[in-house]
Symmetry: C2
Subunit: 622 residues, 2 copies
């Protein structure tokens, strides 16, 4: 047991209802921290290439972290790990809200679910015990309804991490959700389908009484106190307008995807769905996660009109893009409705928006007909049809079933040229940043262990952010190729730390540095951990996840982009004619990582990172 940690990890076999605790050595905890890091260690050791992501042998790992339930800003985020049913490789996703700290307060640092319940169930975790309970009466409820119901049934203070109908029915783009109508989403990689495959509707925690030991509480509080004003002040715009505020700016620079990644401009539309517009119209409140000094969450309300009622979590940058510009929908109320429906059904809003935009294009091109779509007029800009289709996806009805499988599988099913405009990397639909506007985004999508993922935030350094502590006293020019390999690798490793410590990467905007992470970790755990060791840890985590994928057959051939992003030009706007020079960036990236030209970690690198047992899993000596 280490300061910060309880060191208690629940292992729940849903098949035979066996529940026990597992322990990790202090060395393992220090090497993998928690969250997706420690999750990677567990997933690597217990699943692999033959594991069916939707079979009982897959694990659903929900991890807390050493910072959870401490006063550290944004601490207590949830990190979920499983083999992804969407991509067939490494799956991770995380989110904020309050479940993470609540879980930690019951005395645990993680829960590993294996097997499958016979019938719909939920797991109730309290200070005293862990129970697998009947959830047949909860099956079919959407995530908002479910949260309300559980509050009534169990306690208004309970916190639930749940799936909606989409997850129950194992849509491969389903996520896990928490905080009810405030809709915090563990969105990506279809991990909600894994939970659904296990017949688990919710993981419920009841106000626990446990608090982690903090080895040096005073010092920690002092440090937090010192940085907090910056964290508040420098993130003000996000507090004021939410992340949706970025839509018009990203439209201008060519970073905002439009019309299934084939459009050029959405200038007026962007203004209509902007954070400013939302603030002036449907916004009724803001919402913040545990210990967050920023508060980027929105609460919106629509009482009348065709999209009423809407009440709860409002669109952020990603859903503003995926349901807005991607579908050419410039009606903020339609976007807000879609955002809410994605949350209620328990769908990844990024993937769902991509899937609908893809279907709009397929319809426009005549590869599918209105009849295939059960009569839905899914034309560009038709917000009502988008919302109807989202219902179908969430309920897994008709064509919605196909779209719920994700863009890659849907395209294969449609055939006849649809694969050409299916935009995904390793099976994961990309978020709302465009490799043709920001070079590093292409490399980040091509190399992230979960597929098209931008959360390494390299793009922030191509816009206006500097990170002197990470070697970037100034931002990098967005179209520059040189240095982007190092940038993406550096940031992927850095953000891997955030997702292992359970804190929010947006704190970077507020001036959080890696020195804070090291210092706080020292204060919480008592480890004499240095910035250098932390950097090495980040690198270890990325390499372990890469090795997970290598075992699944991934190599350089897969580190690529779909044609739309690689060679389809934008013809107007801020990114006109630019195409990402992926090959050159990849070379820099591999070289910096110490990976072979085929994209395999070398034995030397693995040894250096203490991943010697993984060497045998390389397809051949490197």
């Amino acid at each position: 047991m280490v300061g910060g940690y309880f060191g208690k990890f629940l292992r729940v076999n849903l098949t035979d209802k066996k529940i026990d605790l597992i322990e990790f050595t202090e060395n393992t905890l220090r090497q993998y921290l928690g969250g997706t890091g420690l999750g990677a260690r567990v997933l690597y050791d217990h699943t692999g290439s033959p594991t069916d992501p939707l079979g009982p042998e897959n694990l659903l790992i929900v991890m807390s972290s050493p910072f959870a339930a401490t006063p550290i800003p944004t601490s207590g985020r949830i990190d979920v790990v499983a083999k992804s049913p969407l991509t067939g490789i490494w799956g991770e996703a995380e989110c904020g809200g309050y479940w993470g700290s609540g879980f930690k307060q019951t005395g645990y640092d993680g829960i590993i679910l294996k097997g499958k319940c016979n019938s719909p169930s939920y797991v109730l975790i309290t200070d005293e015990k862990v129970e697998i309970k009947d959830a047949r009466h909860l099956w079919g409820l959407d995530t908002y309804e479910l949260d309300e119901r559980l509050k009534k049934e169990i306690s208004p203070k309970m916190r639930a991490l749940v799936i909606g109908p989409a997850g129950e029915k194992m849509a491969r783009i389903a996520g896990l959700f928490t905080d009810g109508m405030h809709g915090r989403a563990v969105g990506r990689a279809g991990l909600g389908a894994v939970m659904g495959s296990k017949n688990i509707k919710a993981l419920v925690v009841l106000e626990g009484s446990k608090r982690p030991t903090l080895v040096n509480r005073e010092k920690l509080l002092e440090s937090i106190k010192k940085i907090t004003p910056d964290l508040v002040q420098k993130t003000e715009k996000r507090k004021k307008y939410g992340t949706l505020a970025s839509i018009p700016f990203c439209e201008e620079t060519g970073d905002l995807p439009i019309k299934n990644w084939a459009g050029d401009r959405f200038k007026e539309g962007a203004l209509k769905i902007s954070g400013e517009r939302m603030t002036e119209t449907i916004l009724v409140n803001t919402y913040h996660c545990n210990n967050c000094p920023m508060s980027c969450g929105r609460v919106v309300k629509i009482d009348q009109g065709e999209y009423a009622p809407v009440y709860g979590s409002g669109p952020e940058y990603e859903t503003g893009g995926s349901f807005g510009s991607m579908c050419l929908v410039d009606d903020l109320e339609a976007v807000a409705k879609a955002h809410e429906l994605a949350n209620r059904y328990g769908l990844d809003g990024i993937s769902a928006g991509n899937a609908i935009a893809f279907a709009m294009e397929a319809l426009e091109k005549g590869l599918i007909t209105k009849k295939d779509l059960d009569g839905i007029e899914l034309t560009w800009g038709n917000g009502r049809a988008m919302v109807e289709m989202l219902h179908k996806i969430g309920q897994r009805e008709g064509f919605g079933w196909i779209l719920g499988e994700g863009v890659k599988r849907a395209a294969r099913q449609i055939g006849k040229g649809a694969e050409e405009f299916a935009v995904e990397v390793k099976g994961l639909e990309p978020p709302m940043h465009d490799p043709r506007a920001l070079a590093s985004v292409g490399l980040a999508y091509a190399t992230h262990p979960r597929g098209a993922c931008h959360t390494a935030m390299s793009q922030a350094l191509e816009v206006k952010m500097a990170l002197p502590d990470m070697g970037y006293p100034n931002p990098l020019p967005p179209f520059q190729v040189e240095g982007k390999g190092v940038l993406v690798a550096t940031m992927q490793d850095y953000i891997a730390l955030f997702n292992s410590l359970g804190i929010c990467r947006f704190m970077l905007f507020g001036g959080l540095t890696i020195n804070h992470l090291a210092e706080w970790l020292q204060n919480v755990t008592g480890w004499d951990i240095t910035v250098e060791e932390l950097k090495k840890t980040g690198e270890r985590l990325t390499n372990l996840k890469r090795m997970y994928n290598v075992r699944c057959g991934i190599s350089r051939k897969d580190d690529t982009l779909p044609p739309r992003l690689l060679s389809h030009r934008r013809k107007e706007g801020g990114a006109v004619n630019y195409l990402p020079r992926l090959g050159e960036m990849l070379n820099e990236y591999y070289e910096y990582r110490g990976w072979s030209e085929e994209g395999y970690p070398t034995r030397k690198k693995l040894k250096e990172l203490g991943l010697t047992d993984e060497i045998k899993d390389l397809p051949y000596p490197t």
Copy 2:
């Protein structure tokens, strides 16, 4: 009946032994000429996406052309067309020799084989009749033996287009061969397997008495007489040393592939396997195809040493690369032996060399063992092992069976990372030019209708050739991106004409222009054909072949290169660090072609080319 043509096309149904003639309108002949052009028309109309390339429903189309059996230099080349068993898309290959003119002299312009014989057979074509004859006693003979046997059995004057044991056993990298020990190969795309699948061992023609009408014989002869000295003189080096002469130069510029496309230099090796070295050592004669003023063919003889006996066709540039530098074999005698064995077994030397180099890498990396290779020590540079493995491939024994399926399928079979270094485009192994040394080569490989194919000769314009008549008064810089889209499109269309008229593209080195083609076609057929019409014809053919592939599911996503060629740098030599900027070139190419950004011919373009019936085969309106 048009001048140059007899207008008689044989249709042979091998299943029910029905043989008849089909006719084409003069308009069709003028629009598609002959060779791969008219072949494309037939294949398009009678096969498609569901056709099993090795099933009886596939066609094997062997086409002559309006220039065959005329005095036109290099005329009478053979053009073979079928759906490719190697790639599953458009398949074409052609070669020189004497069969084409011989066939024409029996009175036919093409033969279309459908169905399948019950037992090994051959087709005998004479002035008087066409017969399907028993070939059970010929089954198993290699192509050299077979030619000798048929000469004895039928007539020393017979000419045979045959398959070897590899084609009989439907190796997907098997070709058709002619001229016996002089080994002219219809190598690419596995068309020999199609012939094998039909149980046809040979197409034999007996000295026919027919001669095509030449509408303006005098003018034709005059024009030929005028250009011939140039054709002779300007191609002298090839006459003197064969195409193998280019090996050291291409090694210097980084154009010669080395060590399965991952090597950097082969400087001394290149000198040891050069055309000059061959001339000094094992060369005993040269060989030229019908009416050829150049004579690039070699005849070599090895009487002693471990590779004896070798006697017949000697290595050219492609086999020098594929069995030489690709396998790091610097022993000219081993390369000559491999060249002969490929011919004898009836294997495409390019694909076979690629496959062996691939296997050498798989062994080095430990993905396969010596045991998997039936004990063969298939290490880099081991010429003896290479020759042993070639026997296995030709006989389809042990691991040779897998390699005979081509690199793509072999990699899939091996798994465990082998796909990463499987170098192919659309399933076809590339010839011996490197996209990292000559930008246009990458685009040519990515876009040619049969997969990785360099025969559009764009690369010649990146080295030293100028083609003023095609708009290129000067060569283009090899690493330049701009203009390469137009260059590759222009040359693909141009060379499509050569392969429809049955003449050799090497005549370009001798100063042949498109004006000659137009003039000769006028003189032969009497058509008032212009250079402009010819260019349009070339474009029509490329578009028709593209449409064949579009029907098979091909689009921009497939117009790409494997990682080795796209993003793996050469670290030394003339092409150090250069990577082809494929996306940019593709855009220029599509734009120039009037294709959509998804790589589909637009309706407008198809209409313009008279391909209106094909519009319905687009996956969606473009």
